[in-house]
Symmetry: D4
Subunit: 213 residues, 8 copies
């Protein structure tokens, strides 16, 4: 009784409910994961601590732990396939955890993902060198901390929707990702929309819906 | 020389550059509008004051002034057509200016638009009565001020992407739209992304790109 | 002499003073609890750590530790009885700690409590399925983190007072419950009032006064 | 079609929908007021400018303009009667607009109202002199700007629910009512709940529901 | 060379420089304390951790550790004597650390101190019972967290200067003492001034200068 | 009945209640001023607009309008005399309105005032040239906007209490005086306390109490 | 006596004191301007309203009004000459007022200025087309509002110091330039430093000192 | 593949890319350091924890660990030499970590550095005693926490560029360095620019570019 699983949601939204492990006990996460695994669909847990991952994998050995992404997945069904590539772009090495959360989620939901890392705007030639990959993506997820300028620049290079994910990477006046978030909301590229700080998962959900169209 | 028009952008992003009239003199807005009109494409000016609108229409009588939306449009070309309907939903009468900015922009960019107004979550039956319209839209733009809860509820009812637009409608602890913005960023519906406060224009741009897919 | 117990208060306000354990030493909490137990009324301690709970129960074995609620109670008197049911509603599993603090407090103060969990607005059918319970409550306490939309939707479904409790559940732009707090203060349901972030205790006090009327 | 009036709401919540005039055109306010007047119930408009009031009274001469409260009322039905007195307390002369908004609303909704003004905590004897009135109220609405301490002190003097209304009165570090709002949310009187800055109307709605019990 | 001790300052301001231990290594604090002890005046270290206190007392056995106040003092000189009593008032048990820091500092600087604890405004009779002590003080230091209302009420009861110290005690919307700070800055008692959050030391310095007049 | 004048306060605090004209109608200010004038004591109104000043002087021709200070005074009684000089120091020309409010208030309350203007810290020699005046004052009021550094520097030069008044002078990241306020609260001069932004009046009240000792 | 002109400063810092007209009366600005003009050096007034400009030019007909820059200059002396070019770059048409304030100031202080406008990062080719001009500048001033990304991208293209000026251009979550300010402070280009929002004047002062080296 | 080193940047900006160790695993930092060391240039890692430093020195024994500065350097090339002295000034002992980060970086980049510590503005004579050193520097880096006033005072004493570094030293209303940051941005010394909180590294980069001119 501690959780009302929303069995309707996959039908309504085309995506399974997902376990947000942060703030839940290891026992709760493991129990929910096993219950969902038995329901037969694909299962995803995000924000999983290493200890929690160990417990889940002990209970469900078919599950896979994605260390950088802090995710656990169980693939046992074939989701609707995305029509093109989802590009996941990130500014610095430290943004990789968020970018990988997006990539793992998007792959589990049936997308082909191309990850393009360490192309921050302070060395714009690195980004311009990826122009081909960027322009061939059907939808882009762009993760950046600090000043959060990357989605704006990427947005000006492509004519596809860009989903911007501010990350909490930074210090001082970054205020836990607030600077990047505000930067992205004030973008002057009109093809950019934004999700919560560090929300790689949510970005992948929207990208999936778009890529299925 | 006071403005470098970005003639490349329509080719790169599939959308014309647009005149953001707020903070520009009436003379500047009129001059840019006329220059763009001569370039032959469709033209859009947003955040136009009544005085400014009069001046633009005097200089270019074919233009149309959308009063609630605070926009001026000139249609002289056929844009790529969207494949389905864009639903523009808003919570209260006061959010209409932002919703209409989104609707006018989306129509000019080739979309069929359905406007669903005054369906705030405090009387949820009003929203549920529109379930058919909501679920048949290919992409949704949802505008709300005050507590900004509408996109989350709509997001749970559909399996299409929802673009949330916080509005500056409210008083006291709404802090100019901040409350609605934070509410939308913290949505628990994973198919919701967010644009800047009052940015109906930007929401329509993203919706257009998605609806063309 | 380290604490002036307010013996007048039960007489003035109809409720005993309560021990807020957070920030007090285990020794202080235990000593105050024992002193209050000897005074003969019911005793409540909130925000009790597991170690502190152990110490209190060792000193007063009749006391009960409510783990999820992080509370200790001692029942040895019959409080004035509430006339109807207090519904305690919460959005997600993670809000349960706050909801249980409210429920434990309300029960100790003489109310019949119905706990309705995991009915977040992203799957509105779950909430609508509880309409009966919601509408038969005499007063409602509604706890939610993240976007904090639940009290507004509940407020529109009932004609009883709704006490909204923002929780610190969330991440990124939730800013420790600020997003939920602002959302609730800006509610467009006029039967909603708000208490401090995570303040399940305070919500139960107000609900008790109302339910005694 | 510009507004969907929520005809269900009076039945669901026991209160008519109300016109929040701020941000609406004079024409819209007048038209909605007249339409509601024809529906036969009592009508309330809040945040009405002097010009708007003139237009509404011209269209509906039976309406009454409450200048300090910035409200217009039309009484043509007998609402359910409150069982006791609602005390409306305010700290300073400048808080009167908010206090009067609460008083006008509460009276229209069937309550006996006692207004107690200018009893700020810097001269506590003024407040203590009103102890009789305070303690005989069934529910209290307490409005204060600046440091917002009044509801806390009142809350300690009574055993009834206190609804605190922060006002935007103040300057400098009051930040438009934020200081008072935070003060009230952090109250150490457990019988205090809070509504939005300047929201006298909402406070009266909750007080009405409580006073009908 | 890691610290330039300001030997002029006692002459200029009538008070010795003091060691703010927070953020300094135990070795640094101990070394500076010993050096100052050798200079012959009284020595004060504030914000001392238990481990640091142990090290300082080992190096200078004449020093005294004030546990609640988190201070170490060494008395070896007679400071100028204050002319009256400094009252140190605090709202709750949890504010005692800050109040004691003020009291220890004020005593070391030559003042007679009267500590009045646990007289929060939610039970105003507790405060009124102390009216005699409050009114006989020459200067008052008033510490409070949460809503920070105590200095305002005290300020209205006396005709002496009141130095308000917001404390970081609270949770949720107290935002680490911000709510109390704003409340005190917006006081409507004109005899109240404010120092930084938790700054019992600074309050005592100002009180000392006033009490010497 | 619209204002309860606090006739006790002069007796309790040694200072008359004062009219804060901002946010009151001209009629109200004039009426209160006349009523207070008839009571026989000195009268002070602060934050008076030019139009309001004209009305008050028409009704009470003995009153004096201090234009820069935005104050009106009526002297008809001899207040207790301060024992020394109150120095009122300000950083720039634009801070003069606040400094003059302090000076006018302090003079009316029986103090000898020395005004030292335009001695901002960016040209420290200007300040050092005033060292004599600063050091001979019994208490100092220091007003500064922008970075708010002046009270800290002055505090290090004197051994008297310094009352810091942040002003709203500045732009951009001064956020209406917030930068100066925070700077003053974080002062490393221990003889500095702070009042609200632009609150020259309050600073003078505290200075008066101190200077009478 | 209302202003102590800092005659030492030109000697100490190599730059004349400048009149910041905002918040000063027209009479004060005019009088100070004339007094400075008589002292023989170059004179600069910033943030001058059109009415004020008219008054100053009437009193000193040799002065020049720079309309977009909102500045008045009087050139009557030859300042030390900068060794290279100062590039003043801005993102959009609306940032021109700030960019021109920087350009006018820099020219008056002896620099050759190249103004590069409307090269926002959403169309990066426009900026890359200016690479030659950017790389030949000895120091760069880069002004941008909204997301404030331009200085970071420019910083990555040059090996000269970049002085970033956030502008207040934007709306909604730009919060008066705060978003741009935070973006610039969190830049990942290590050759970027920042001045206050809209402070074109200050940026030019630093650029001048650097360009003289 | 986890990091794209920007080999172009030294050529473009005259400075090597640097390892920001905070948030990276010890293995990553060590691997990158070794790779950069093999590339033959000088190497710098900042924000290195003691454990991480041990690992790097084990892998590259020629590297030097600067404990206070939390940096590791490897010198194996001769950088372009600065033409004058870079003064690194700090307010208090606790600001030394940031000041040393700046000093270590500046020395590695070819500058002669003079460190001037513990000259906070509350004892201005300490700073004035260093006037000679300050005025002979070619560029100054000034670090301060708490009220952040030091760069403004230093700025008024010299005619060289001042790079202000706010530090996170402080408590209460310092809000992690925000108070110092705002103070520096609002400086009234026009030769001051600002970098992120605690960013000694960035300040040294800009100082290096200036000192090479
Ligand atoms: N209502 C609007 N809200 C946000 N951005 C807009 C709006 N209207 C136009 N824009 C953007 O502003 C750009 C024009 O800015 P500007 O060069 O200053 O005229 C356009 O290319 C759009 O991307
Ligand atoms: N300039 C001022 N700044 C702050 N408080 C003021 C000022 N002038 C008057 N006051 C306070 O405001 C109170 C009067 O408020 P009210 O009852 O609204 O007229 C006085 O008793 C003073 O304590
Ligand atoms: N546009 C500007 N932005 C920031 N500071 C300015 C500006 N113009 C002038 N100032 C500064 O303001 C000082 C003059 O202030 P004041 O004494 O109030 O006239 C000058 O010395 C400059 O340092
Ligand atoms: N202490 C520091 N503070 C700020 N930025 C730094 C610091 N140390 C290194 N950096 C920057 O961080 C970049 C490296 O980031 P990353 O690619 O995540 O290792 C370097 O190129 C520098 O520009
Ligand atoms: Mg990198
Ligand atoms: Mg409506
Ligand atoms: Mg759930
Ligand atoms: Mg009053
Ligand atoms: Mg207590
Ligand atoms: Mg000046
Ligand atoms: Mg443009
Ligand atoms: Mg020191």
């Amino acid at each position: 009784g501690f959780a009302k699983l929303d069995h309707h949601r996959p039908l309504r939204t085309g995506m399974p409910e997902v376990i947000f492990a942060s703030g839940k006990t290891i026992e709760h996460v493991t129990a929910i994961f096993v219950r969902m695994a038995q329901a037969g669909g694909n299962v995803l847990a995000t924000r999983v601590s290493p200890e929690c991952a160990q417990a889940v994998l002990a209970a469900e050995p078919r599950a896979v732990h994605h260390v950088t992404a802090r995710c656990i997945t169980l693939e046992q069904a074939v989701p609707p396939q995305g029509k093109g590539t989802v590009a996941v772009v990130c500014a610095g090495t430290s943004d990789l955890a968020v970018a990988e959360e997006a990539a793992v989620t998007a792959r589990l939901m049936g997308n082909t993902v191309e990850l393009i890392a360490d192309v921050g705007v302070a060395g714009i030639h690195r980004l311009l060198a990826q122009r081909g990959s960027l322009q061939s993506a059907r939808v882009l997820i762009v993760c950046a901390g600090m000043e959060g300028a990357l989605p704006t620049v990427v947005g000006g290079l492509v004519n596809a929707p860009v989903i911007a994910v501010p990350t909490s990477i930074g210090y001082g006046a970054s205020f836990g990702g607030l600077a990047a978030l505000l930067g992205m909301l004030n973008t002057c590229s009109p093809n950019v929309c934004v999700v919560n700080i560090d929300n790689g998962f949510g970005a992948a959900c929207i990208a999936t819906l778009i890529n299925r169209m």
